[in-house]
Structure formats: structure tokens, C-alpha cells
Symmetry: C2
Subunit: 263 residues, 2 copies
Amino acid sequence: MRLDEAAAVTAVADGRWTAEIKPGWDILGNANGGYLLAIAGKVLVELTGRPDPVTVTAHYLSPGRPGALEITGDIVREGRRFATARVTLTAGGKPVITVLGTFGDLSDAGGPDHGDLVPPHMPHPDACVSLEPTATFPPPFMGKVDLRLDPTHAGWLAGQPGGQPHVQGWFRLKEDEPLDTNALLVAVDAFPPTAFTAGLPLGWTPTIELTAHVRRRPEPGWLRCSFTSKFVTGGFIEADGEIWDSSDRLVAQSRQLALVSTG
Amino acid sequence: MRLDEAAAVTAVADGRWTAEIKPGWDILGNANGGYLLAIAGKVLVELTGRPDPVTVTAHYLSPGRPGALEITGDIVREGRRFATARVTLTAGGKPVITVLGTFGDLSDAGGPDHGDLVPPHMPHPDACVSLEPTATFPPPFMGKVDLRLDPTHAGWLAGQPGGQPHVQGWFRLKEDEPLDTNALLVAVDAFPPTAFTAGLPLGWTPTIELTAHVRRRPEPGWLRCSFTSKFVTGGFIEADGEIWDSSDRLVAQSRQLALVSTG
């Protein structure tokens, strides 16, 4: 099933939509956070009347199980260039995620370039590690997208984590589904957690919040994605993502905050 | 006037508050973004019943001029450990900022430490550059907080920008006002823009969105703050902040997205 179909939403009333968390888009029974964000993104496009996320923040409130979602949303401000709106996805009366987003039209993204605008180097996708899902690990979600891990940072798959909280690799949708800016919201949360790949003794690290900034629409083809964590302290870990398209342009950045076990 | 007073809010009805943007907390007539966020933070503490911001995202919608604010807010979820709520500050019927925050109690922040948990090195505050406001530049806001710029990154003040989009220095409140976690929301937006200090030819860079993650309550004393931008592209620039307290602990991270002129 294509992302576009899996993330589909249906308007049912003014400010109300329904959707469905499809089976298989989960990590151990909980819907992937980027997939939930892509569902919210569809509603935000409708609410704002703008095609592209510019900055989107999701707070993860409870696990999303496969099944019906009710969605409420309202617009906060409509400007000339951007519009800002918020949506909440609820399942069985329980909020799953709430999202605040500013949307615009990135078809004419331009302006000056400064900085180290060079995508991360990684081997060709065919020389990278494909995560094929099983009933347990890797989780079913990995079968919904095409993910190829840079083997330099995939030692943890063989029980030899590298110690560095960094993971990078390639991402595309299956069935040659075109990548739009909404698909970038999936890419920023599709990779294994850095704490996991580093072998840090942190256990499960549930995401509390994720913010994605989209700089431009991606060109067709593979995305190169890299995720790095700097600080585990105070009971939290952050992970910063960078997403580059096939024309070597930065298309998105992300940061997420996750909980680590305290003790 | 202390921050605590300048950011004060008054509950007027269920889900409604008033506040006032005080004169002098502005940059060229527009209220500083961190100051506006601190006003929102006060409401979020009341709404959530939790003392500390954990992750807070503000979208800046229109300039905040000195004068009356109307504030609306609602709670999205109350959990055992965290509560999530959202507020919008409006002036004269026009939304100024809208904020989504998850709050908790950070008095027992703990857990394991991993990563390069070393604060940035900088000269003693007395050997740094104090920004004393004038009618034009530095702006009035600089008189409301005690900011000391590391001279290594302050060449732009003498018309010799360093080229690197990095600025760092010390921050504290005036009149020995204690630093709480709400004051960190001011610290993350108190420094001159990195594009400015680097001398990048970008002109004004208005903030669209700012997210702050608070890891723990700061110990009394000076904060060390550093801000770095990596990427100017697509018409946007991001700036990442790190805030360290007097006990050498990371207390907050921030990222903001700002607009640059396109063309």
C-alpha cells in the first residue's frame, strides 16, 4: 500500500476528518511517528490550502494502534505567504498526536546558499544494508518504505554497535511512489534510533516531540538521510536529522526529543 | 522591570488570560521572541499544572507591539508525567504567536549521561562584551537582560564580522532575578542573529518558528549560551542553541527557523 493511500484522510464536517492507521505501519504495534505525522500533514494541507509543510511540530501523546482515527483541526492564521494551523489525531477518545504546522508553497524555494551544503557520503544503495521485516525484528514498518543503511553505521545489526549515536542511509517510497514534501515527514522518522545503533544502554526511547523543517521539494530519486545525537542527559536524548535529495540539495532538517529511562 | 513581572499573565475566564507587552522588551519595535514565549510559558504552566517546559514550540505570526494581549489556551492531554497544551497570544484581534508545549516537573531530572557534555569555553563575563542599548542599536531589549558576548565572536560590533555563523556568550537576568526554566525560554532567543554576527548578506531574518527543549532546572548563576547555523538554503536559515548552567550542565537546547530574503 502506497503512503498516499495509507495516510489518506476524509473530511466529514467543518474542522473534522477521519483516517485509519493501517496495519503494518508500526514498530512493535505502535504506528511509526513519521507515518502519523504524514496523516496530520494531509489535514494541514487541506486546512491551510498550502501544499508544503515549512515547519511542523508533533507531540506524541499515546501509541497509535491500527484502526480508526478522528481528527480535529483549526486554522490559527492565514497570511500571504504562509498559513498556520493545528490538528489533533484521536483514537477511541484518546489523543494520539497533536501537531502545529506552518505551511506554504515551496515550488519557488530560492534565495542565497551559505554553509556546508554537502550531503553525507555513503555507498551506493545496492551496497547498503536493506532492512527486511520479520514478525519481530526488523519491525513491519520497515517493509513499507525502502530503507538502505550505510554499512559503516550498521554494525549493531550484527551485534557490534559502533558506539557513536549516528545512523545514515538511503530512503525512498516503495512502488516508485513519487516523493512529495509530505513524504519527507515520514523520512525524518524512518530510521532506527541513534541510541540503538550506538549500543547506548538506554532501552526504548519513545519520542515525545518531533519538529521538521522543509526547505524545498525533493527531486525524484533516493534521499540521503543522516541522524546524529549529541546529548543524553536529564532523562532525554535529542536526534538531529538532515535529508538531502538526488540533486544534492538539503530538503529537510529534523530534531526529535525522546525519553530515556531514568535511574 | 523583572522578567517575572514583564511576563505576568492574568486569568480572566476559563481558558482566557490577559497580559501586556511591556515597552522596552523589543527589537526595533517588535517584542523579542523569547519574551513572548515566556509570556506563553506562564499560561502553559497554569494550564498544565506543571512547573517546567520540556518541549515548547512557538510559531511567530505577526510582530508584537507594546500593549494589551489577549490569550486563549486549552489542554490537549494530561498524562501522569507530562501534560500538553497550546496557547495563542493575540493583539487587537491579530494572532502574534501560537505555542504548543509539553510540560512536566524537572526537579528530579536524572538518568544516564552520554555524549560530549562539555560547555563551550569562553572568557570570564567581565572580559566579555556587554551590549548597552541606545535608542537605535543595540536595541532596548538588550537593556532588559544581562548579556555578555564572547569577544572572539563579536568582531561584527566593530564592523569586522567573522564569517562564521556562530555567536556565544553569557546570559543572566537583571536585578539578581532568579533563573527558572521559564527564563530559559528568553535565553534561547536573546542573542544577536548568527547571520548578523557572521556578516552574511541576508538582511533581516525574522523567526518563523522556535523550539526549545529544557533538560533540567538551571543552577543559580550565569548561563553559557552558544548559537550556530549550518545551512542557509531554500530561503531559510536555522540556528541551534545550547544553554549550559553554572554547574556545567546542559539545561536547554533550541532550534529556530528564520526567513532570509529570496532572490
